[in-house]
């Protein structure tokens, strides 16, 4: 009924304008008729363009994730599954910046649009509190949905832990990303260096390169990358944002020391680093401008691409240098089934297939920067051949820390990102900066 509403308007208008006893010429009435026609057509177009309740033969699953090379690879895999399982799978891969809004809008309004959503650990708190996700506990133990050789135990515990909220598993961990140190092996050898392991090593090498005119490429833009770097360096310094009691403790000496290190390292950074996110750092490495840099493991496939990279085969990969103990940062993405999905079991079947050893192996071989949570694949020789960084990245699975996941954590990370940007760009005093953030946010934790 509501759809007919737009049709009333042109009718009313034409009646109104012809209300005056018209001395109208033929031109007038022609114009008037054309106008009415135009408006009616518009209204019809609007009504027509609504989706009919086309009964789809079979089930259609819609998957929501961010767009990019990984999505392109995934699309092929999904087409394979669709053929095998006899369902239609639609991949809705959109701009990362809009992903959370779209998922939230649909899940909140219970539109049933999405059957599978790609969720990072950062959003789990919000999604679980709002009740958007279905519990997978019953599904993972059902061999009819998972297949007989799925091997649930092969999925790294650390991943399952991240996505278990209040004892209930809400998503299947899928993709691991971690910051890595990348360096040009020839450039390092020329300077007589080995791959840096400690902070002191790193500073020495960075300084050497800076004096020669380049420097280390760092993602020091005000944003999430710089806080990721802080998190991994903190872990490597045996510290964390919080003290053992769980309270915010940014003024600990270890934290101040870490920020001071970041500031010093920033002085030897490649020109422009202060405005770079992961992507620009990766490009600086890829096209040979940077002899060394800290980049994200999800991007490094481009570095070894023979067609696109100027330095394919010349690079070495190492964990981020540490001060007290080796550490890594674990960032992850997982598949969850929304509570409003109309095909929960089918979706879970798809998720289980995606996280099966066969599918993950295929994914890693097609996209070497794709690292999964399957322990058995971490030492797969075929994958390792294409992904020289595999060993380094696996560290994240074994002794990786995650960013704080508490509900107020985003505020902390945002404030730190701003503060760090001030420290590395304007030379602000690290201790003072940390004190400032501590004072303003301590009460929230």
């Amino acid at each position: 009924m509501l759809k007919k509403l737009p049709l009333l308007f042109p009718v009313a208008l034409s009646r109104m304008s012809s209300a005056a006893p018209s001395t109208s010429s033929p031109v007038e009435s022609k114009l008037r008729r054309r106008r009415t026609l135009g408006l009616t057509l518009t209204a019809l177009l609007l009504a027509w363009s609504s989706p009919g309740g086309h009964a789809a033969a079979g089930i259609t699953l819609t998957v929501s994730r961010w767009a990019g090379p990984q999505a392109d690879t995934q699309r092929q895999l999904l087409d394979e599954y669709a053929k095998e399982a006899g369902v239609t799978v639609k991949l809705d891969a959109i701009d990362y910046g809009q992903l959370k809004q779209k998922q939230t809008l649909n899940m909140r309004t219970k539109t049933g649009e999405y059957d599978l959503v790609y969720v990072p650990e950062a959003w789990m708190g919000e999604y679980s509190k709002a009740g958007y996700l279905t519990s997978l506990d019953n599904y993972v133990t059902n061999p009819k949905l998972t297949g007989d050789d799925w091997n649930f135990a092969d999925l790294a515990k650390v991943g399952l832990g991240i996505y278990t909220v209040d004892g209930s598993l809400l998503a299947l961990p899928y993709f691991v990303q971690t910051p890595l140190l990348v360096y040009n092996q020839d450039a390092l050898k020329q300077g007589g260096f080995e791959a840096p392991k400690t902070w002191a090593d790193l500073l020495k090498i960075a300084k050497y390169f800076k004096e020669k005119g380049s420097g280390i490429a760092l993602p020091y833009r005000q944003g999430s990358a710089i806080t990721d770097v802080l998190a991994v360096l903190l872990a490597g310094n045996g510290a964390s944002f919080f003290n053992p009691e769980g309270k915010l403790a940014l003024t600990q000496p270890a934290v101040v020391e870490t920020v001071k290190f970041m500031q010093e390292l920033g002085q030897y950074s490649l020109n422009g680093s202060k405005g770079w996110h992961w992507d620009e750092v990766n490009k600086a490495l890829q096209f040979g401008q940077a002899p060394m840099g800290i980049t994200a493991s999800g991007l490094v496939k481009a570095l070894e691409d023979e067609n696109d990279s100027n330095v394919a085969g010349k690079l070495g990969y190492a964990p981020i240098p540490y001060n007290k103990q080796p550490a890594a940062l674990l960032q992850s993405w997982a598949w969850a089934v929304p509570a409003d999905s109309k095909h929960k079991e089918e979706s879970f079947k798809l998720a289980a297939w995606l996280t099966s050893k066969a599918a993950l192996s295929k994914m890693s071989k097609a996209d070497p920067s794709f690292i999964s949570f399957r322990v058995s694949l971490t030492s797969d020789p075929e994958i390792a051949k294409k992904a020289p960084w595999l060993g380094t990245a696996n560290q994240a699975l074994t002794n990786g820390v995650t960013l704080p996941l508490r509900p107020e954590a985003p505020q902390l990370l945002n404030a730190l990102a701003t503060g760090l940007s001030g420290v590395v760009t304007n030379g602000d005093d690290p201790a003072k900066m940390l004190e400032g953030v501590q004072t303003s946010l301590a009460s929230k934790f």
Binding site: A19, G272, K274, Q411, G419, S421
Partner: protein
């Protein structure tokens, strides 16, 4: 049948034809107005009401069932937050710079275009309109590329004049200025287009008469062009000013608000609060404050433009 044909209205108790005509007129006007007014009301005014309401609560998007009433706390937080204050300053500075640069450049070009032969002017005007037609995402992208110290065209040129240490987007002092430049590039076409349309509505006879009287170009610009463009100018200031005040895509794409919040505008601040910090209520309060600022800053222009309609 026109109203004007009735000059001697019979003074009688029942409705005169003139009164009936006026009523019919009013009905027509309301009908003409209705679709636009209804659209605006439903799509914009109602959400505004909701935003006002929501700004009194503390909640995250999607958690409307868990809203906790905090009354004016969000507003107090805004005024106590140094980052919020900084973003307000940044926004005002940005708006002033972008508006003044854009207007002078745009008007100047529009006037100059009128002086050359129409055929060339049309081609040039179409070329000048191009920046506006490009998606804001791409505008942010290409200017980020241009401003990049290692790869960018800007720095390539600066190296020739020895200014390669220019802070650009990575220095708190110059980042905002760089964004202004990108914004002026992107929005001057709008000003040129509207000003050109307005200029063509000024009769050439006025300029002829002035020239015969011996007026100089400058004279004509300030005595004829600008006053007659007054209403168009008002609209330009209103539209461009309010747009500049709410700048988002360009800032977010070029610097993400940095370095150290040197370029965070009010809308970037609100966005971060809403979608990164999950504080929707606070974001709504910021938006309401933005709206109040806009009304205060641009309200006076609005009053001039909305004078009571003249009886025709």
């Amino acid at each position: 049948m026109g109203i004007m044909t009735i000059t001697a209205a019979p003074s009688s108790a029942f409705q005169t034809p003139k009164v009936r005509a006026i009523h019919r007129d009013q009905r027509l006007a309301i009908l003409l107005l209705l679709p636009a007014a209804m659209t605006i009301f439903l799509v914009m005014i109602v959400p505004l009401g909701f935003a006002l309401y929501a700004s009194l609560f503390d909640y995250s998007l999607g958690q409307e069932n868990n809203m906790s009433f905090v009354f004016l706390d969000n507003y107090l937080r805004f005024f106590a937050d140094p980052v919020a204050f900084r973003s307000l300053i940044n926004t005002v500075v940005f708006t002033l710079l972008s508006l003044s640069l854009g207007l002078s450049l745009g008007l100047g070009i529009a006037v100059l275009l009128k002086r050359i032969n129409p055929a060339t002017a049309n081609v040039l005007r179409a070329i000048f309109a191009m920046p506006l037609l490009i998606s804001p995402i791409i505008v942010g992208l290409v200017w980020r590329y241009i401003y990049d110290p290692t790869y960018g065209l800007a720095y390539y040129l600066l190296r020739f004049v020895g200014l390669q240490n220019f802070g650009g987007l990575t220095s708190s002092a110059t980042a905002l200025l760089c964004i202004v430049v990108a914004d002026v590039w992107h929005t001057t076409p709008f000003i040129i287009l509207v000003a050109s349309a307005g200029l063509t509505m000024i009769p050439d006879e006025l300029y002829e008469a002035a020239r015969i009287d011996g007026a100089s170009s400058f004279h004509m610009l300030f005595r004829i062009t600008i006053p007659l463009l007054a209403k168009v100018l008002t609209v330009l200031i209103l539209v461009r000013g309010t747009d500049a005040f709410r700048i988002f895509d360009l800032v977010y794409g070029l610097t993400g608000g940095g370095p150290a919040n040197a370029t965070t505008s009010l809308s970037v601040f609100a966005y971060k609060q809403a979608f990164e910090n999950n504080k929707m209520g606070f974001a709504m309060a910021t938006s309401v404050i933005t709206l109040v600022c806009l009304v205060v800053l641009f309200g006076p222009f609005m009053r001039n433009s909305a004078r009571k309609g003249k009886e025709i």
